[in-house]
Symmetry: C2
Subunit: 203 residues, 2 copies
């Protein structure tokens, strides 16, 4: 088998496809643009990935696999709620600053095709909230935090961390800040958001 070259092209294609799909979405992406970016012939895309749908699926799964572990950290480790909130907020925002198109891409494509999440749910490592819910209930009982439903706290954590990156143009316009000021705000949020949450739930 001639394996020397193809390993490289396959990766080149996936890298190019990532960039194009994550910025333009499934509907806005063009196979030709991906080919150009990967510096190969358009036929190669089909040689390696058969169809646009399958190439997209590869990109999507890849993106999702990058995001999921971030969530599992907060859901499944053994630290306290407060520690989890602080670690997650700091880590997650650092992570997203490195991959700014990721959350928007995933959310946009799941809205376009909500059944897609079913394929993801099957794979092991899919975030599960049950342990987190129990821990919240326990810390409430122990008087460490104020009463709140685990689901709601979890949604709040996601919302505060993810939203500004998903709605960047809107937030920039409303808050009336330029690019530089926006980045500064996001950096501040690494601790701001955690404080905001802890303030709210700590007894």
């Amino acid at each position: 088998m001639a394996k020397t070259k193809d390993i490289n092209t396959e990766k080149q294609i996936l890298d190019a496809a990532k960039k194009v799909f994550q910025i333009k979405g499934m509907n806005g992406a063009r196979m030709q643009e991906i080919a150009d970016k990967a510096k190969i012939n358009k036929a190669m895309l089909h040689y390696y990935y058969r169809s646009k749908d399958l190439l997209f699926e590869a990109v999507f799964k890849n993106a999702f696999a990058l995001l999921a572990p971030q969530l599992n950290a907060i859901l499944n480790d053994d630290s306290s709620i407060e520690e989890k909130v602080r670690n997650f907020t700091s880590n997650y925002i650092s992570f997203i600053i490195k991959h700014p198109y990721l959350p928007t891409f995933i959310i946009q494509e799941l809205n376009r095709n909500p059944e897609f999440i079913l394929k993801m749910k099957d794979q092991k490592g899919f975030p599960n909230i049950e342990k987190f819910k129990k821990q919240v209930a326990l810390e409430i009982k122990e008087g460490i935090i104020k009463p709140i439903k685990g689901e709601q706290l979890f949604i709040n954590i996601l919302a505060l961390n993810i939203f500004p990156f998903v709605a960047t143009p809107l937030v920039k316009a409303f808050a009336n800040v330029d690019n530089k000021a926006f980045k500064q705000l996001m950096n501040d949020r690494k601790t701001e958001v955690a404080d905001f949450i802890i303030n709210s739930i700590k007894v």
Copy 2:
């Protein structure tokens, strides 16, 4: 001028275009589908709106004009921060439950074309955060609320209210709830979110 019919068709087109664009986005929408939904010939779309771009623009401006007043309420009225948070949260979530595709649509299309926001900024009634920032600073000085930057508080309010509707499929999957339970969670948030915010900032 024969004005009896066209007023109706024009509205029919806009209504159909709204539905299709808001669900499928600019790139996913098809002129034929809009024509079918409006029960008219495809040529009529061009007769009234010239091009797909202009029809889209009409829909987008319309959607934005629906959302903006909701924000101006919190930014510009004279109630206290606490009252604003409570009113906005309750009103906004009720509003979005009636227009579930609106925030996703606006955010998605602004990400696709960030310059679009410039056109919106020109129009009067575009939300401005300055008054809100001053009010936050004042209430901090008066010892009513804890120190927080106005921009950050504003982002947090938006995030907690809007995010679950933008990321619905993701939230449903992670929180492991079905449609009914999700709706219940959203309903609970009308007061939950306000409490969460107030808890965090109240001295």
